[in-house]
Amino acid sequence: MERNEVSQNPTPLLSVKDIYKSFGLNAVLKGISLDVMPGEVLALIGGNGAGKSTLMKIIMGLYTYDGGELSIQGEPVVLNRTSDALERGIYMVPQEPLLFPNMTVEENILIGFRQSKAELHRELLATMKEAGWDLDLSRKASSLSIAEQQLVEILRGLLRHAQLLILDEPTSALTFDEVKSLFRCVSDLRSKGIGIIYITHRLAEVFEIATHVAIMRDGVITIQGPISGFVREDLVKGLLPPDSDTEAAQKERSTEVRPVDYTAAPVLELKDFSGYGFSGINMKVYPGEILGVAGVVGAGRTEMATTIFGMDKVLGGQVLLNGQDITGKKTRQVIQAGLNYVPEDRHLNGLFKICDVAANTTSANLFSAHMGRFLLDHRYEWKVTQGYIEKFRTKVTGQDQLAGSLSGGNQQKIVIGRSLSTSPGIVILDEPTRGIDAAARGDVYHIIHQLREQGVSVLLISSDMEEMVELADRVVVMYQGRLNAEFRQDSINQDNLTAAAFGILEKEGVGA
């Protein structure tokens, strides 16, 4: 990456030079260089797994880096723990504010300071007055809205005389008015000469608030510079992989397969389906179809899937599975009706780490008579497990290996196997290739193609646009809890999907 023009200006607040970081064999940052000047709002954009959060954790002193250099206000520094970064005037407002829920606002802000309480109180009031914010200091933090919690976090940073604030997707849970007030606050801070790194998924915000922009993709920065030099299309291009040729080839391959019969009765149909985090969803999934649901993290896709799966309350609408109404049914009934779900977070919701491979594979099958009426049928369990190990080419030392000791890709195969063991007519795969290596990714794609061949429908939720292009027969895009676009065949390309996922493009005729 070419060094930009800021080097001749006064010393940057933060200068990141050629930072490398890998976890094991997985290189996450491949030579990142960034500068943040006083009074600059640097918008940092990137998809999931681009390395943004790793970079921020390095800046906060939570991670060490393998190579490169960090300097703060011109001085090279080594940050070993959070307090080092705090002392040097860096403060991060995490995406999920880490407040103390049972303390008051004031206690939350003032904790960890050395000065006297009265002095701090005065300073806090002065800071708030200066910023023009009004916040009841005696309220419990648990009663604050997310926007207010973020204000508290920002105040914490200001009171520490932070020179550089990192805001990690601050608007992801805010209402429109709250976003407005946050933007006002960011402008105020900027005018005071505070540098801000603003991480976001929403391209529209970038032009509204940022002075500079940097786009990260796969551990490198693809675009960097003052915002005035770019238009939206440039940013979208920066988010896409450079080799768009392979894309066409991939698309070709997936169109070779048997076409989907769109006149058949849909396997899964959502009618005006609403719940917490999404609303008014209409969609149909046809037999043997791979329907992609694209969008950014927090668009409400996972919430939609888990609500179908009986994990959360339905607020309105209907879910029909093969014409049968399964709205608001319990998970077990949904599974028995022929739908299964591969969770997004396999560590939290998918895997039984200290159980063996066999127990993991058959865990969703425990209420079927195949596994025995009362006593466990170990032979059946062995057969099923062995079947999936061979079919998916899962690398295990044996069925008794603990699932936690497998690699990410093999763990994912186990979780997929678990969901398929109930022989569902439709599977919802939520980010099936997140955090797994390329080889395993290929295997998972192979599994998905196999399913399609067998006539099993797949609802594929993924933030990886390449994956969508390669796999999906049809893609709907979710943006802030609603479907805002649908693409078929040729129009499924990364430009369209990315634009729609970031809320730039809307396409009529949503809902098929």
Partner: protein, 353 residues
């Protein structure tokens, strides 16, 4: 692992036995038992008498019976410290129902068992469905059920401290029968309970659910397992075990008392933890707990007999055992320690691996 599906049965059963639940730890416990027998046997040959050991076991029955079912609770990630109170409650209900309400002794026992199951269900409900920490609920339960025991005892015409006695011979015979003239019926009951616990935990679908819920309750929900019901059921099981203990001990002593359970809580938890149950849930075995319970009894029996240790001091070795086991496990599972050991003894690692 062989890829040949032609002989799954042998392979499955072999795997279940050798690499199955807790196998290596169980071997260690067997070794511990053997070591106890050898050391105590050498120190005092009187130790090596089955009759004596069985007699000493009688006073440790709560540990044996209850701990194998408290293991279920701990596998789900909970804890149960109310069992001792339930033992007393069962006992006094039997006494009062028989003496003061004139029920048949066996019906009285059945009634007591049902009440105990209800107590377990109540605590289990609060833990599973209301999300209260198991520790606090069962602490409250231990107050409540021992208090109920006292209240039930006031219904009786007999003074509480005396206890209710004079039960029919048929009831007392429950604990007087000796199979082959050596093995008391209590031991047989223990073996039956152990068999049930083993089958339930390691051979049935229910047991599999108990493990899954303990390892990852959320993932269990995503597999369609009703985590809450499973959690609640484990408390009912442990209360049932406590009530059977109450029946057997009442028969054995010939007296029904509200404070029959004594305070074995620590010993029961120690037996579970020593038996390989992970205190954070997800791991444990009925056999392991049983072996641990037996070895604790041998310790409690052997130390006073062979080394003249006062019985009251026995809390020290048992407490030490608990602390050493949990700290040892914490050290062994600490990744830094593992890495250091691997670095310092690469040869040993290779040999072992």
């Amino acid at each position: 692992m062989s890829q040949n599906p032609a002989k799954p049965k042998n392979e499955v059963s072999l795997r279940r036995w050798t690499k199955g639940p807790n196998f290596r730890w169980n071997l260690f416990l067997v070794a511990l038992l053997a070591a106890e027998c050898i050391v105590f046997g050498i120190a005092n040959p009187k130790f090596l008498s089955l009759t004596r050991i069985f007699t000493s076991a009688n006073s440790d029955l709560p540990i044996w019976y209850i701990s194998i079912f408290v293991t279920f609770v701990m596998i789900t990630g909970g804890i149960d410290i109310q069992s001792c109170a339930i033992v007393g409650l069962t006992s006094i209900i039997i006494g009062v129902a028989w003496q003061d309400f004139g029920l048949n002794i066996w019906i009285a026992a059945l009634l007591a068992i049902l009440v105990a199951a209800a107590c377990g269900a109540l605590s289990g409900f609060f833990v599973a469905y209301c999300g209260v920490q198991a520790m606090v609920v069962t602490l409250g339960g231990s107050f409540l059920y021992s208090g109920l025991g006292l209240l039930v005892s006031t219904l009786s015409s007999t003074e509480a401290y005396k206890g209710i006695s004079g039960f029919p011979d048929s009831f007392k015979a429950l604990t007087k029968i000796k199979l082959f003239g050596v093995v008391p019926l209590q031991i047989l009951i223990f073996l039956v309970m152990l068999g049930i616990a083993y089958l339930l935990l390691h051979r049935t679908k229910y047991g599999r659910k108990v493990f899954l819920v303990g390892v990852n309750p959320s993932a269990a929900e995503y597999s369609g397992v009703n985590s809450r019901r499973v959690v609640m059921s484990t408390y009912i099981l442990s209360a049932l075990a406590a009530s059977i203990t109450g029946v057997v001990m009442t028969s054995q002593l010939g007296t029904a008392k509200a404070d029959l359970g004594g305070n074995f809580t620590m010993t029961i938890i120690t037996a579970c933890v020593l038996g390989g149950t992970l205190s954070t849930g997800g791991k444990g075995s009925a056999i392991g707990t049983a072996l641990a319970a037996v070895s604790i009894t041998l310790l409690r029996f052997g130390m006073p007999l062979c080394f003249n240790v006062n019985k009251q001091y026995l809390d020290i070795p048992i407490g030490m055992l608990l602390v050493v086991v949990v700290v040892g496990r914490a050290i062994a599972s600490n990744p830094m320690v593992v890495a250091k050991v691997a670095k310092r003894f690469p040869a040993a690692k290779k040999a072992a691996g």
